[in-house]
């Protein structure tokens, strides 16, 4: 009787889950986004399953087809892992130098930009206009990438 090599299948599916859940799920929360540990744990389990499945497929009594399929599945899982590692450890750090960005203690450079109603707004205005009928204690500037 032919028994299913469940390790290779489970390893394959789990590496799919581990690879795709970072962009589509775990990046939603700061704790799993800042460092992709949840996905790396999933990948570790997937890799163990794939290795077990490979060992089983390469026993002498197994046919060439199962050897080929399990190798493909393992290679695909490895590729997904490489993709995630590349994204998290290389691509996310492709940022230019910002040596000239103002430091703590320095004066914040003033600017005039338009708000959502196309009205000009200056930093000085933002620092002085009241919120909740009181002068603001501070202004938090958030520069973000935007959607273009």
């Amino acid at each position: 009787m032919k028994r299913l090599n469940w390790q290779i299948w489970a390893g394959f599916v789990l590496s799919l889950v581990a690879g795709l859940s970072y962009p589509f799920l775990f990046s939603e929360w700061e704790i799993t986004r800042d460092y992709a540990w949840a996905n790396l744990i999933l990948f570790a389990i997937a890799m163990v399953l794939l290795i077990l499945g490979l060992r089983r497929a390469f026993k002498p009594d197994k046919g060439i087809v199962s050897k080929i399929f399990s190798s493909l599945a393992a290679a695909f899982g490895l590729l997904l892992l490489a993709g995630l590692l590349f994204l998290v450890f290389v691509a996310f750090r492709w940022l230019p130098e910002s040596a000239g960005a103002p430091q703590v203690g320095q004066k914040a450079p003033d600017f005039t930009l338009t708000d959502l109603n196309n009205k000009p707004v200056t930093l000085a205005q933002l620092l002085s206009e009241p919120i909740n009928n009181q002068p603001p204690k501070a202004v938090l500037l958030i520069f973000y990438r935007g959607y273009w």
Partner: protein
């Protein structure tokens, strides 16, 4: 974000997006209520040295992510200029920094 405005902190978000785009993406879809400013010519972004030139995904010049806390005198009290896209400032970091304000 509510905690920030309760603490008297005005949150101002700046990007190269045009106001129409921001209204759709940030106000209608994401439901954010803070002040949005549009900097399509990268005037403020350049002055703060935050230009990400020819960014890979867009091919355009955009802002790299960064946050600055500025007191009413215009001095920078705290900042975060991240080296990693996925790591951004959290509200609790800002509130912690704001405690030192007069």
């Amino acid at each position: 974000m509510k905690a920030l405005s309760d603490a008297g902190i005005r949150v101002v978000a700046i990007s190269v997006d045009k106001p129409e785009k921001t209204r759709v993406k940030m106000v209608q879809e994401a439901g954010y209520t803070f002040t949005f400013l549009s900097d399509p010519k990268l005037e403020a972004i350049r002055r703060y040295d935050l230009v990400h030139a020819e960014e890979l995904a867009s091919g355009r010049d955009i802002a790299r992510p960064a946050e600055f806390l500025i007191d009413p005198d215009g001095s920078i009290r705290w900042r975060m200029v991240t080296e990693n896209f996925s790591v951004r400032a959290r509200a609790e970091h800002v509130l912690e920094a704001a405690k030192a304000l007069p």
